[in-house]
Amino acid sequence: MTPIRVSIAASIASLLLLLVVLELIRGRRLKEKYALLWLVTGIVLLVLSAWRDGLNTIAGWLGVATYPPAILFAVATLFVIVVLLYYSTVLSRLADQNTILAQRVALLEQRLSARSGGGPGEVDGGPPPAVSETR
């Protein structure tokens, strides 16, 4: 059986997590898109913490009936891994976009300075410059 104090502590912790996430969304410090996984994490943990029979039953299925709170750790860890993995993909995409952006800015700047300065950067035969007659 799950000790009642574990259930109470875990419920409070899950509630706090939920409140913090909601507050971050409210203050626009966290986009809904990225908050969803955290909300699901909080809700699942809260349900497992408060619904003691459910936790005991699941622990029985998984063979840890002697210490059901282990399931809380397992579920929390799993969610954290999923969230981290998801963030890694987000980070990778942002890095790619950042590269593309930097390249585009640099190319535009070059074109701009070649056009206005007409200096060494000037290249003939490029895409028709709108102001080619200024040369």
Partner: protein
């Protein structure tokens, strides 16, 4: 027949000491080549020196690493409609006098991309440090195995290519230590890659960014990238997917 428009792409990161000589070398030997120096977030005078010697300069707002810088050059070449591109490192390792030999197979229509290889002939006197040699032969073996073609120098950045090669690399070019993975990319896109033997000079200034610890890290990372690149489905041919 008029000569094809050729762009020399030169990536440079803090190469103020060497870049002037590189640009001069290309322009004096091949006056009809245009030169674009990709200043990869340098903190020294690289951009100013290159511009003063008559190169077009594309300055990246921050350091992207060699792959991102080189790709910028190919994007430039594609935008400006160059038919042929050659790539030389900004540190003076690559001898512009060898460029015609790199371009020859492309001009004969026998290849889309030509790599200058330090090892193709076997008589080169270039002896990289041990860690580097291990890495080079590991990748040469792996890439040859994956592509079932003999590739002797997968880390050489001394290359020439036609419009197909420019379009492919402008569209998709790997990041760090990019030449190895690019070889697989070329193979997957069914472009024809040839190697010609070249001599490479010692660095004139600065030092290589590759240390022993980094070499190991890159070997693991690039090996993973290679295997993934082989397993990845190829998108629509780069030429059609653009513009």
């Amino acid at each position: 027949m008029r000569a094809a428009r050729v762009i020399a792409v030169v990536p440079a990161h803090n190469e103020a000491g060497a870049i002037g000589g590189v640009v001069d070398g290309i322009r004096s030997l091949h006056p009809h080549f245009d030169v674009v120096v990709i200043d990869d977030g340098s903190t020294d005078d690289t951009a100013a020196v290159a511009a003063a010697r008559g190169a077009a300069v594309v300055s990246l707002p921050f350091n992207l690493g060699i792959g991102g810088a080189v790709q910028t050059g190919f994007k430039y070449a594609l935008e400006q409609d160059y038919e042929l591109a050659v790539r030389l490192d900004g540190d003076g390792q690559h001898d512009p006098a060898e460029l015609p030999r790199l371009l020859a197979p492309i001009e004969r229509g026998e290849a889309d991309i030509v790599t200058g290889s330090r090892f193709a002939s076997g008589d080169g006197d270039y002896r990289p440090p041990l860690a580097r040699r291990i890495g080079i032969s590991w990748f040469a073996g792996l890439v040859s195995l994956l592509t079932r073609r003999r590739v002797t120098d997968t880390t050489s950045g001394f290359q020439a290519m036609n419009r197909k090669g420019i379009a492919l690399f402008a569209d998709d070019y790997p990041n760090d230590y990019p030449e190895v993975e690019a070889t697989v990319l070329v193979f997957k896109h069914r472009l024809r890659l040839t190697e010609v033997p070249v001599q490479m000079r010692e660095r004139e200034h600065g030092q290589s960014s590759i240390t022993v610890v980094r070499s190991i890290y890159y070997m693991v990372k690039v090996t993973l990238a290679l295997l993934m690149a082989m397993m990845r489905k190829v998108a629509a041919p780069a030429e059609e997917s653009r513009r």
